[in-house]
């Protein structure tokens, strides 16, 4: 339900507010020898966040449960994008961005799009190669590289 999602989000925001206020009090939220202390600005941000989020909780509670926040059918494609994307980022640490991107593209195209293997391989190879040329060669913006690039001499 949207209300549940609203309340969970508000709970997280309240937690953030408490952390901010706590840390600001540690730093000092008042007036120092040369003006407001480090914690002054964040302290009031945190206090306001707590107050406004509390109002949102009341509002959400009064409004009733609302419609379903996300159905199983809707969440499925979202997770299909999200988990492989997170896996790609994790893989980048090991094999570098270009190889990870190729793997991600190929996986998604085959798994979700059911494209032919030939299309999958061509696209998954072409895109990282083009990116490599544009970023590494033309604009000299280095991306994380792994063993494959090292083996190729980059």
């Amino acid at each position: 339900m949207t209300r549940t999602a609203d309340l969970v989000t508000a709970a997280v925001l309240l937690l953030v507010g408490l952390i901010v206020v706590g840390d600001s009090l540690r730093l000092g939220s008042g007036w120092g020898s040369d003006g407001p202390k480090s914690g002054f600005f964040p302290f009031w941000l945190g206090v306001l966040l707590l107050a406004v989020t509390a109002a949102i909780v009341v509002q959400a509670w009064r409004r009733g449960p609302g419609k379903t926040f996300v159905t199983r059918e809707q969440l499925h494609p979202v997770l299909q994008v999200l988990w492989p994307a997170a896996a790609m980022v994790a893989a980048t640490h090991v094999v570098g961005l270009y190889v990870a991107a190729a793997m991600y593209l190929a996986f998604y195209m085959r798994w979700v799009g059911h494209h032919r293997w030939l299309t999958v391989i061509l696209v998954a190879l072409a895109i990282p190669v083009v990116t490599f040329v544009v970023f590494e060669q033309w604009f000299l913006v280095p991306m994380p590289k792994g063993p494959l690039e090292a083996w190729l001499g980059y």
Partner: protein, 506 residues
């Protein structure tokens, strides 16, 4: 003297290299505007790292051209596919898509591009005239005035943004809080890092933009299970010329849309309400209001003129005050700092070639832009024929590259993923994202302005009311903040039904 400066600007903007840069920018921008999940703001953010080695003027021309392209591109998807690429193109779909369904897509597109161009040109002329004046006034601003303007910036999101005002406030606060994480430059103390080294650098707003708008948007569009069912473009020279013959009929709508757009646009969050307002006015003053929503050309002209006028007007506070009016302008502002320029009123005296080059490039960019999109519609529409199983991972990869390139740091790519999830949830729960990004960008500036103001007054908040300019701005800001409370009361007083809020965010 303004004219001489503009000539100087054209000297800068009309070099072969800068024109080439503008063409590339518009091309990429239109593609970005057409693609789901990539809008102006994160398109500019992703390309920002590529401009680090360019001269600043060419770099800003690339990014602004990208922005114009994205604005034009939004109209293509709205009209042909009924998918508003940006919130301010929502009103364009009302009549644009019906027109395209009736086989008059060419007419609708021509009208949209021409209106965009007219609206943009109107705002550019006003920027040319008023920017130097505003910069001159802003030179006399002290910290209280700057803080008051920041307050105005954020309160206009609350008052004018539509949607839930409480949630707008939360977005703003969250942006400021994220901006405060890391080293406090004034006292040298670490804030909210809890001993984690990675948090010391804080959160970069460019990464936030790519995550919130890029990844968040792509998650939303796969959730909706987008299938692109496009209407035929039906674009050719004959249609363009015929439409141009009809358009002068809507002169009043053009003028009204331009004024609404400029007036709403230089305040943050203004583009979306401007487009709806212009549409509503056009309908009210039309002799055939019943035709609106069924394929009335005027219903395309009105929102497009206003949205583009507003989109351009958002650049005005960025150039003159160093305060961006939209997430896209915020990313450009970040660019200025990276290129070693100090945004703000001093730019006009210290870097006139940059400022006037930028202003002149707005003219050239929009002229090139309207010609390119008119000629290139079939090409741009064909982009959406690429299967989504290729587009989706491609956009994710491009976002990851952009996020990494900002600081060459993998932690940023992880932040991008997290911001993506946050963006998805926030968008679903109606928390506006634009104020969060702007607060993240302006966090340090706002805090410093507040600190210095309070030091001036030894801790008393009255400092914002004792100086005339800051007092006036603060009162307007407070009025905007209280507007959500006042509006229902005002409507009841006049016996009007409660307002149905326009979609938030701009």
């Amino acid at each position: 003297m303004g004219f001489e400066n503009l000539l100087l600007g054209f000297h800068v903007a009309v070099t072969p290299f800068n024109l080439f840069v503008a063409v590339v920018g518009i091309l990429l921008g239109t593609v970005i505007g057409v693609l789901p999940g990539l809008g102006g703001a994160n398109g500019v953010a992703i390309l920002l790292p590529l401009t680090f080695t360019m001269p600043p003027t060419s770099a800003i021309i690339l990014l602004t051209s990208l922005y114009w392209g994205a604005l034009f591109g939004g109209a293509i998807t709205s009209i042909l596919f009924n998918i508003p690429g940006e919130p301010w193109s929502v009103a364009t779909t009302f009549d644009g898509y019906p027109l395209a369904r009736q086989g008059q897509g060419g007419q609708a597109l021509t009208a949209a591009f021409t209106s965009s161009f007219v609206g943009a040109l109107f705002s550019i002329v006003l920027i040319t005239l008023f920017a130097p004046l505003l910069a001159e006034i802003a030179l006399r601003f002290g910290p209280p005035e700057f803080f008051a303007i920041q307050l105005l910036t954020f309160s206009s999101f609350v008052g004018l943004g539509g949607g839930n005002p409480l949630k707008s406030v939360v977005s703003i606060l969250l942006g400021f809080i994220l901006g405060a994480v890391g080293l406090d430059i004034v006292t040298g103390q670490l804030r909210m890092t809890f001993g984690i080294t990675d948090l010391m650098k804080g959160f970069d707003f460019i990464v936030a933009v790519i995550g919130l708008f890029g990844i968040g948007e792509i998650l939303l569009s796969v959730e909706e299970g987008l299938t692109f069912r496009g209407a035929a473009t039906g674009m050719n020279l004959k249609v363009v010329l015929q439409t141009w013959k009809i358009l002068p009929r809507y002169a009043r709508t053009f003028v009204r849309g331009s004024f609404i757009g400029f007036w709403m646009g230089f305040k943050p969050g203004g583009a979306t309400p401007a487009s709806f307002m212009s549409y509503a006015f056009a309908k009210r003053f039309s002799r055939h209001p019943e035709r609106f929503g069924k394929g009335e050309l005027e219903g395309v002209v009105a929102p497009e003129t206003a949205a583009h006028a507003a989109g351009v007007a958002a650049m005005l506070p960025m150039i003159t005050l160093g305060i961006p009016g939209s997430p896209t302008a915020a990313v450009m502002l970040g660019g200025l700092i990276i290129w070693g320029l100090q945004p703000g009123p001093l730019l006009f005296t210290e870097k006139p070639d940059f400022v006037w080059g930028l202003i002149a490039s707005m003219y050239t960019g929009n002229i090139l832009g309207v010609l390119m999109v008119l000629a290139g519609v079939p090409f741009f529409a064909a982009i959406l024929k690429i299967p989504f199983a290729i587009l989706t991972p491609l956009i994710v990869v491009v976002c990851a590259i952009g996020a990494y390139a900002v600081h060459s740091s993998m932690i940023d790519v992880w932040y991008m993923v997290i911001f993506g999830v946050v963006g998805y949830v926030f968008k679903k729960l109606d928390y506006p994202l634009a104020p969060l990004v702007l607060a993240l960008v302006l966090g340090d500036l706002a805090e410093n302005a507040l600190r210095q103001s309070l030091i001036m007054s030894q801790g008393s908040l009255t400092v914002f009311f004792t100086r005339p300019i800051s007092c006036a701005i603060t009162i307007v800001a407070l009025f905007f903040l209280l507007m959500p409370l006042l509006t229902p009361w005002w409507r009841r007083l006049r016996g009007l039904p409660p307002a149905s809020g326009a979609p938030a965010e701009a």
